[in-house]
């Protein structure tokens, strides 16, 4: 029973959504949109579980004096301060409907001077990692890797002033061999062909996966039977 009802729910919700695409009439037409709002609401409640888990994990570390316990204090403190600053709109206009990110409020300050630099810098690490990954991965180890390398190299060169000048001497009839032209050809023809094959494959994969879930063939995600 406990396992049957969820499978039935999945079946009904999934198949109704698929059918509803073909039925514009109310209430089917908007079902997809409504359901994603439902999901957002469920996610808020679930967030309490997540936040609780975070606090439990770090609380345990502090309590058991795990070797990195002082860092757990930082996490818990950061969470609490940010939450209080936001929920109570400290330094901003109070009330439920006031603007959350009002300039000068504590939440906005924390967002600007703590959250943003951390986020932007973590993102910026990519600049380093793309360089080290290119050095290691772009090697002509075999035929496949050589093709990958050549495509990447043409595109890379096409975007540097140096690469542009490298082939700018080519006479007009051969202008298609100029690196920027070659780069845009790669992007718009073979690259697009590969992308399309991948996308069609993904679509078929999603269809079969969705059917397995809706038909109840796949129910791993429902978890343990016995409780």
């Amino acid at each position: 029973m406990r396992r049957q009802i969820p499978v039935v729910i999945t079946f009904i919700v999934g198949s109704v959504l698929i059918i509803s695409v073909f039925i514009p009439h109310k209430p089917f037409g908007q079902l997809g949109e409504n359901f994603s709002v439902y999901f957002d609401i469920i996610a808020v409640f679930a967030f309490i579980l997540g936040a609780g888990n975070l606090l439990r994990v770090h609380g345990n570390r502090i309590y058991k004096k795990h070797k990195d316990w002082p860092y757990s204090v930082v996490t818990v403190a950061g969470f609490t301060v940010m939450m209080i600053a936001g929920l109570f709109k400290i330094g901003g206009s109070p009330g439920i409907t006031g603007d959350l990110t009002e300039p000068g409020s504590m939440f906005e300050d924390l967002y600007m001077y703590v959250f943003t630099p951390l986020m932007a810098t973590m993102f910026a690490l990519l600049a380093f990692y793309v360089a080290s990954a290119s050095h290691r991965a772009f090697r002509a180890k075999n035929k496949e890797a050589t093709v990958l390398l050549l495509a990447a190299f043409v595109i890379l060169l096409g975007r540097t002033p140096f690469g542009v000048e490298l082939t700018s001497w080519l006479p007009d009839p051969l202008s298609f061999l100029e690196i920027p032209n070659l780069a845009s050809w790669i992007m718009s023809v073979p690259n697009m062909a590969g992308q399309r094959a991948i996308m069609v494959g993904i679509a078929l994969g999603v269809i079969a996966m969705a059917l397995r879930v809706i038909l109840g063939v796949e129910r791993t995600y429902l978890g343990a039977d016995s409780e």
Binding site: S132, R136, R139, R159
Partner: protein
């Protein structure tokens, strides 16, 4: 060949160091770069120059801090160009952080030495209407009524009290739309709604990742001009004569690109030298 074996397994931190240096050093250099103006940026600039003084320009800031390095210089150049030519600027944002970026850009513009005919006055020469949620639907709503879409500016002043907003009903009251975009919602949506439906004249500045997606609109005339990525920023600065960060950043970026190309070549060279010895087999 110990040397090449070392190059093969070079410590990633050495690469990191090179990338860092390549990006930092150019910021302190004063190298004359040859920046060739591409037609898209030229037409963008021309569109601004064709506007008679007093024309109203809608600037949409659709990006957030992570995309600021590419778009902020273009925003600053756009604003300076408008103030320099006595164009009125109305700022909005489809991204929550957009109008804040606009304020930062205005701050930069006013903090530098300018030769404007007169100091721009808030509410008369420019206004920031803030952010409105709803993505492309905001553009659609603006098509029927701008006062209804943006009843207040970002400071909370009712737009009836803002002199610049008097008589502005919909897109027909703007002479030009300039969109700074880092993704969705952005230039694609502005073209679809403001240009295709409401006949606005529009130009755009995009991040390098976005630019190829909107490139086709130039051919069709839906966009009068496009400035893409750091290179576009540098070109735009060169045309307007307001040399700013775009030009400087462009140099850093070129250096970094060359470093990446350099390491790929080194990696392959080392690979072939060491492999060639082992198995005499190359592909």
């Amino acid at each position: 060949m110990k040397f090449f074996e070392k190059l093969m397994s070079i410590d990633r931190r050495v690469i990191f160091l090179f990338v860092g240096v390549a990006l930092i050093v150019p910021l302190f250099l004063d190298i004359e770069q040859t920046i060739e103006i591409t037609p898209e940026v030229q037409t963008l600039y021309d569109a601004f120059m064709e506007l008679p003084p007093g024309s109203k320009v809608l600037m949409a800031f659709d990006y957030d801090p992570p995309s600021a390095p590419e778009l902020q210089p273009q925003a600053i150049t756009g604003l300076r160009l408008c103030f320099d030519r006595n164009l009125k600027v109305i700022i909005i944002g489809l991204w929550p952080m957009g109008p804040m970026q606009a304020n930062l850009a205005l701050e930069t513009v006013f903090s530098e030495e300018n030769y404007f005919d007169k100091e721009p006055i808030y509410g008369v020469d420019y206004v920031n209407l803030g952010y409105s949620p709803g993505n492309e639907l905001v553009i659609q709503r603006m098509g029927s009524s701008i006062p209804a879409t943006f009843p207040r500016d970002f400071r909370g002043t009712s737009i009836e009290e803002i002199p610049l907003m008097r008589g502005i009903v919909n897109f027909s009251n703007f002479d030009y739309v300039f969109n700074l975009s880092a993704g969705y919602p952005g230039t694609v949506e502005w073209v679809q709604f403001a240009v295709d439906r409401f006949h606005a004249r529009m130009g755009a500045a995009n991040t390098a990742v976005q630019a190829p997606l909107v490139y086709p609109y130039i051919g069709t005339g839906q966009l009068t001009g496009l400035s893409g990525g750091m290179k576009g920023a540098a070109e735009f600065e060169k045309l307007t004569g307001f040399i700013g960060k775009g030009t400087k950043f462009m140099l850093s970026q070129s250096f970094a690109h060359m470093i990446v190309v350099f390491f790929i070549i080194i990696g392959n060279l080392a690979y072939f030298v060491t492999r060639g010895r082992e198995e005499k087999k190359t592909g």
